[in-house]
Structures are given as structure tokens and as C-alpha cells.
Amino acid sequence: MIQKTQFFKEIALESKLGRLTPFGFGRKRLKYMMSVEATEAGKNSDLDASKDSKSSKSSKTSKSSKMPSSEQPPRDAEDLVTDEGFWQALFKSIYRDKKALVGLIMVSLFILIALFAPWIVPHDPYAVDMEKVLTAPNKAYVIGTDFLGRDILSRIIYGARISLMIGLVPTLISLAIGTFLGMVSGYFGGKVDYVIMRLADVCMAFPSLLLAMVVMYTLGASLFNIFIALSIVNWGSTSRIVRAQTLSIKEKEFVEAARSIGVGRFKILWRHILPNCIPSLIVLFTLSVPEAIMSEASLSFLGVGAQPPTPSWGLMISRGKEFLFSSPWVAITPGIAIFLVVIAFNFIGDGLRDALDPYTKH
């Protein structure tokens, strides 16, 4: 009985605090929660409160510590993943997994290159120099020049910016769309669920490259439109996964408790369901980023994506393939860049999946 009231109190408190982030169980918030709880305890001179805060503190900060089971509040396994220890465990598992560590280093390098591109390029990536057309790699031009005499290394470095943007922005947008629709679909059920899931079925029936091509046909070929196309093409699988998780989470006691004290439906989705979907979403995110980068490169390669003179890697390969046999460096080198970035993300994604995803754990 005490356990239950304590549990309800915790949830009531959570919904009272307006400043919850999706990762709302962090240390800072815990401190804040405890201070509020302490003042409340002082006000109401509630004897139990301080004891409760102690037990909840110890159960949260050290999940491995063995406590007498009678004092331990009923916490669900999913609830624990949003714990402080979750991020530690995450980084620890990346650190232990050598492949993931290598991937993390490569991705950090890639992000740094993209951020500082204007300061590290040896030449202007757009500067046409017809006297140096298709120069073989030499000291001034480390990997040569293309058919307009532009320095390929500089273009690849600038291309990192495009790939980074393409990798992050549309992926986040489509994850957001998929997560929202998936949670709504799973939580509300009924007709809403039916409509959303049929829509997801239809979207997933298309091969994503073809669907993106069709969207590009409708919108016209440009880099900005790739953002839109990739944002709206890939939400289907995310929504399926999130829906499945929502279905299982919504039966948990803490959701029932929140509902019973009258917390609104969208508030429950945001505060209780979403944080518990985060681990899967992280895995999905790291696995979707390389896919998006690859899609952009493919679309640009096919000529329905970025348009010249944008230094998109896919476009560079596409334009360079005409000179493949005389000056192979033009087409081959941007591909190495794509390959390295994609494999780096895949390394991380693989490591994270092994560490986090309950479905693929052996």
C-alpha cells in the first residue's frame, strides 16, 4: 500500500512539474524533484515523504545496488532505461565495442570537417579553372581536379556539409512524424489506428528510392526538395515500431496511474510513452542517417537530386563517371567519402543495437 501511494505521488509530481524533457529522469531533474518533494514534505509535515525520496533516489541512481525488496518501489524494466544509468551504460557499451568506438571517432571527425569546411579547404570548391581541367593528383591538388578544374578535395569537404545536413535533418523530421503517428496510433487505437496503419502500409509498400524519385518528379530536382522527399518517405517503419512499443507501454501501471489522476492524453504520450521509446529511436536514428545519406547520393547520382554546381557527393560521382576511364579520381574519391561516412554510422548503429534494442538481444 505504501509502495503504491509513493508511486502515485511520484507520478503526480512528475505531471505537476512543467519542465520535463523527454529524457526527464536525469540527475538534475531528480534533484529538483527531491527539493520540491522535501519542501512539500515540510509543508504537509508528511513523515513518509522523506523516506520515499530516499528510496526513490537510491533506486534511481544505482539500479544495480541490492535493496531489500520491500522498500523498492515497483519499477518497470522499461522505466529504468530512461534512468541516469542509461546514458552511462550507452557510452560504456560504445566504449567497449571497438567497432562502435571507431565509428564514433569517424563520425566526430566527419562532423568537425563539415562544421569547419570553410577554414580547412585548400581551394575554393566552386572556382572554375579551365587551365587545370582534370589534373591528376599532385601536391597542390591532393586528389586532382574535375572537368572544370575545381579542386576535388575542397568539393568533398564541402560535400560533407550537405551529407551531414541530409543525414540529420530529414531523418529527424521523419522520425518525429513516425513517432508521433505511431504513438497516436498505438495509444488511441480504433479508427485512428486503422487509418494511420493503412497509410503506413501504403508508404512502406513502395521501395523508398522509387517513392523519393516520384516525389522529386513532383517537386522538381533540387537539394531542398530532397530534404522534403526524404522527410516524408521513411516514416512508415518508425511508426510501426513506435506503435508496437506504445501498445505495450500503455498497459503499464505508471500510465494507468497517470490516467487515473486525470493527466491529459497527449501529456501522457509526451511524458510517459515517449521517454520509453527513446532507446529504440536512438537505434533507428543511427541506422537511418546512413540510409538518408545514401538516398541523397543515389538521387543526385541519378540526376533527380542536387543540381550542379552543388558539391554533393552523389552528383560528383555522376558527373565524374564520364571521365572514369581517363581520370578515375574524379568519380572514385567522392565514393570513398560516402563509404566511410556510411560505414561509420553503421558501426555505431550496430553497436547501439546490440546494447539497447531488446528485440535483437540474444
Binding site: 518528379y217 543515389s298 533527380v304 572514385i332 563509404f339 553503421n346
Partner: protein
């Protein structure tokens, strides 16, 4: 049997939804298709007449239902640019894509399944790590880039194979595109074979077989593989999707006159009916592939009961 009928009926709304979505997306494009089709020097009268003949002024849904009814009769419209029946063009291109896809699938099985079995049997050994890293490399290589690498090394430098082109069933022209296409699927299959074989290997009946004194490879070959293949089989049919969309790029690189290349050229020339027909055809093919996979899966694994 009841399940099959139900599953078949369930596919119909998806096919309809797919075609509706496609139709809407392709028909809200700004620009007059008639003007696009006929060039610049036509008078307004002619445009008006052609519009009426093509029913372009009807509401979207009316046109859509007409399109679906025509499509059921095998009429997918008329290409703006090539001035030929879309269905004829697709039927001419389809065998080429099919040859490529089947060859690609075979490559992926020949590489993927043995690689997966080896790394599962030698779990956590250097071989296992090697194979799995190799698989990850395979997934991470852009198809269009590995295609160019193959062309450069095997076509130009070693002169083993023709650089591009297509000649029916002439194996010389198929090898390179098939390897390029099958490569990434091979990686997926290897990983899946490995994980599903590992799962089966921990089952009780495998332990029994081992304790009866059977050799390790006998157990793997006779007892484990049969059951480990089920999930792999599903992936093989899901593969149809990745093979067909990968074919878009492979066909473009190697100059194979298949459906993928039709779609790409249709986008470049803004030939809407042709694009619509080719994408619709490919997507429905994939949906049917998944349907067959589901049904087959039920037949092969008696533990699965559909309600």
C-alpha cells in the same frame, strides 16, 4: 486456405492505396502535359481538343478510377515522349530487369548463405569477425560507386568483362551488374543466416543430436540449417524490393534497358504516364512478392497458425 483468401483480399486496398497515392502525386505537378507533349508551336484550339480527348478536365478521382479500370485491362496510358503504349514499353523492358534481378539474387545467396553459416559455426572467431565486417562493408558501399569500381578494374584494367551493355541471356554482360546488385543483399543475408542459425543451434534438439554423437557439421547440415532457413526465406522475398530498386541504379550504370532505366529517363524527360506505369508495375510486383512470402512461410513452418 482461408488465410490465403483473406491475405489476398487484404492486398487489394494496399494496391489501390499505392496507386491512388502515386496518381495524386504525379497529377498535381504544375505544368500542362499537353503543352509538354506537343511542343511549343500548337494553337489553343488543338490543345483544347487534346485535353478533352485525354479527359484532362475531369475531376482527379474520376480520372483515377478510369486509370485503374484501364490498368486492369492492361492499358497503362500513352507515353508523352516516346509516343508508344506504356504497357508495351514495360513488357519489353521487364525481362531484362527480371534477368538482372534473378542473377543478383543468385549472387547474394551464393555469397551470403555460406558466409553466414561459416561465421555462425565459428562464432566469435577471427573468421566470424572478418565475415561480419565484410558484410558491413558490403552494406555501406553505394551501389553506383561499387559499380563504377567494377567497371574500372574488371572492365578497363583487367579487360575480363564488357564494361556495359546488355545482350539477353549472354552471361558475360550479366556477371558484373549481378555482382554489384547482389552484393549488399548478400551482406544482409549473411548476417541473418548467422543470427538465425545461432538461435537454432541453442535449441534442445540440436543438443540432443550432438549428444547422440553426431559430428558438428552433420548437425549443422542436417538439423540446424533446415530450421534456420525460414527467416532467411522471408528476407529473400523482401529482397525483391531491394533488388528491384537497386536495379534502377545498376541499370543506369551498366546501360541495361530495364524498367529502372525507363523510370529514370521518364523523370528526366518529364514523361508522366511512363513514370507512373513503371513505378506502379514495380511496386505491385513487390507487394505480390511479399504476399507470396507470407503464404509460403505459413506452409513451410507448421508452427505458424494464422487467424
Amino acid at each position: 486456405m482461408k488465410y490465403i483468401v483473406k491475405r489476398l483480399l487484404g492486398t487489394i486496398p494496399i494496391v489501390l492505396g499505392v496507386s491512388l497515392l502515386l496518381y495524386i502525386m504525379l497529377n498535381i505537378v504544375p505544368g500542362d502535359p499537353v503543352a509538354l507533349m506537343m511542343g511549343e508551336h500548337v494553337n489553343a484550339d488543338t490543345i483544347e481538343r487534346v485535353r478533352a480527348r485525354m479527359h484532362l478536365d475531369d475531376p482527379l478521382l474520376v480520372r483515377f478510377s478510369k486509370y485503374v479500370l484501364d490498368a486492369l485491362k492492361g492499358d497503362l496510358g500513352y507515353s508523352y515522349k516516346l509516343k508508344r503504349e506504356v504497357s508495351t514499353l514495360i513488357w519489353q523492358a521487364f525481362p531484362n530487369t527480371a534477368i538482372l534481378a534473378v542473377a543478383g539474387a543468385m549472387v547474394s545467396w551464393i555469397i551470403g548463405i555460406p558466409a553466414g553459416v561459416i561465421s555462425a559455426v565459428r562464432k566469435n572467431s577471427a573468421v566470424d569477425y572478418g565475415v561480419m565486417t565484410f558484410a558491413l562493408i558490403g552494406v555501406s558501399m553505394p551501389v553506383f560507386w561499387s559499380g563504377l569500381l567494377f567497371q574500372y578494374f574488371f572492365g578497363l584494367k583487367l579487360k575480363w568483362l564488357p564494361i556495359s551493355g546488355f545482350d539477353g541471356l549472354n552471361i558475360k554482360y550479366i556477371i558484373m551488374p549481378a555482382i554489384v546488385l547482389g552484393w549488399s543483399s548478400a551482406a544482409t543475408i549473411a548476417r541473418l543466416t548467422r543470427s538465425s542459425l545461432l538461435e537454432v543451434m541453442s535449441a534442445d534438439y540440436i543438443r540432443t543430436a550432438r549428444e547422440k554423437g553426431l559430428l558438428r557439421y552433420q548437425v549443422v547440415m542436417r538439423h540446424a540449417l533446415k530450421n534456420a532457413f525460414l527467416p532467411v526465406l522471408t528476407v529473400m522475398t523482401i529482397q525483391i524490393a531491394s533488388l528491384l530498386s537497386g536495379a534502377v541504379i545498376t541499370e543506369t550504370i551498366f546501360g541495361i534497358p530495364g524498367i529502372g532505366r525507363i523510370a529514370v529517363s521518364a523523370i528526366q524527360t518529364r514523361d508522366m504516364p511512363l513514370l507512373q506505369g513503371s513505378v506502379m508495375f514495380t511496386t505491385i510486383l513487390i507487394i505480390l512478392g511479399n504476399l507470396v512470402a507470407d503464404i509460403l512461410y505459413g506452409f513451410l513452418d507448421p508452427r505458424i497458425k494464422y487467424n
